[in-house]
Amino acid sequence: MSTKRSPFLTIWRWAIMLIVSVYLLTPLAAMLDFSTKIGRGKRGLYAWKAIFQQPDLISSIGVSLELAILVVLAVLLVVVPTVVWVHLKLPKLRRPLELICLLPLAFPAIVLVVGVSHTYNWISIHLSESPLTLTAIYLVLTLPYSYRSVAAALNSVDVHTLSEAARTLGASTGRVLFGIVMPTIRAGVMSAAVISIALVLGEYTIASLLNFQTMQVEINLVGQQDASIAVAVSLAALIFVFVLLVIIPTSTKRTKVLEPIES
């Protein structure tokens, strides 16, 4: 695509990247600036070091990370197979599924929490009082994004032909699902996982209103006492997720899924 690009478009391209980068990076730079200020005109890493002296904060970070892992697992084990399954076997349910998956966006979290508070009361009494029970509601929150990523990936490949071919060659349904289809839509699955992690680590409203101490709830508390620590943690969390996302391969490069069957 890069052969005949007009210089006009090149200038435009860079101008846009510059504008958007400035918009998105200035507040982050300001956070770094703020968190390294101590007193008037002096700088230091006090706020960054103080993160580790907040035991509640550290344990809440642990909770949020565990939640992120659980939600990603649930996305991989429940949402992705369901979307694929509906795509392959129940085309009639495709439209309803899409609508259901969009529903959480229609629901401000602050309203959703009113609806689930009784359910969570029941869960707390009869199953567990652990904050990890938030996994279920967070999984619901990720639906609009995870559905979209997976569905888009499914649409871009001819999964039907692929799975029929595999079936003809004697692969079982499970094998087709997890051995053929999933790797083919890996990019979509990965992006679903990535957005889910970011969502869980950034969620505040529901955790706070259901009285669970997650990272965001603690950051909020710390922020009332000492804003620079809160800003330092926030920035650290952003950088952490960013690095995580860069490490996780989200490239659109497709793996050679058909290899094992060919051999």
């Binding site: 435009w12 846009i16 982050l28 602050i110 999984l139 990535v194 952003l238």
Partner: protein, 304 residues
Amino acid sequence: MTSSVQEKGTGSALRGAGPLRWRRHSAYLGVLPFGILVLVFLVWPTYSVVTGAFQNSHGSFELHTVKAVFTDPGHITAFKNSIEISAITALVGAILGSLFAWAVATGKPDGLLRRTTLSASGVLAQFGGVMLTFAFLATFGFNGFVTTFLASQFPNSFLAHPDWLYGFLGLCVVYTFFQIPLMFLVFLPAIDNLKPQWREASSNLGGTTLEYWRRIGIPVLIPSFLGSALLLFANSFSAYATAASLISQGSIITPLEISTAMSSETGVANASTAKALGLGMVIVVGVVMTLYTLMRRRVSKWEQ
């Protein structure tokens, strides 16, 4: 143990003409775990909120609260503000985000730029609440990064006095921050799906790049663009935590009013009002989502 019993049972009972039908129905079992999850954590809460709007504190049916909510000038203003903020940030976010997606998509498909921007957008699209407020206070607030600089260089400029940040305009600026990366994420696949053959065909016929975009690229992308913009609208409309941490006086948007109705300690807390306001929000987003689905339907045609 159960498994073998199940297998035998189904096998013997449905032999003959049965298996086909069993197979057809059995496909539905594949969506059961998901179905239960959605039923318990999404459909049921939705139902309970919607019906709750029509109940008084004793649980009996009444229309009073819903009527009061939809006729009270304060609530109407808040709805108007919410819709306006969402529309503005969706539009600005959609334009900047889609242009950004185009700028990145024209780069190398597996390049560092693409990888970095994708990851960064994944993070920033979910960056909200008190963290985002801190970021903007550190930028445009009193003693902020940009404010201090401007106050010393251009003391009379608009940005040197940060009152604007704590209201309507501030919300627009802050929300746009997460709208741009969200647009980038949801719109990039659409740009990726532009078929190279179209472009080749266009240049084979002697069309310039500009002509290609004007006659093919943009018309093809418009439904997807509008669909994504509506998604952004809903995203901003339902945002709460950011506004709650940024604006402490005067509930100028509906989610803040809901919070007042839920947790006011001055005696005006009223769960039905909160639910009725929630119902109002669901209706607004419902309309938006219907539009979105119609858009998607048009897009799917292009994608096939």
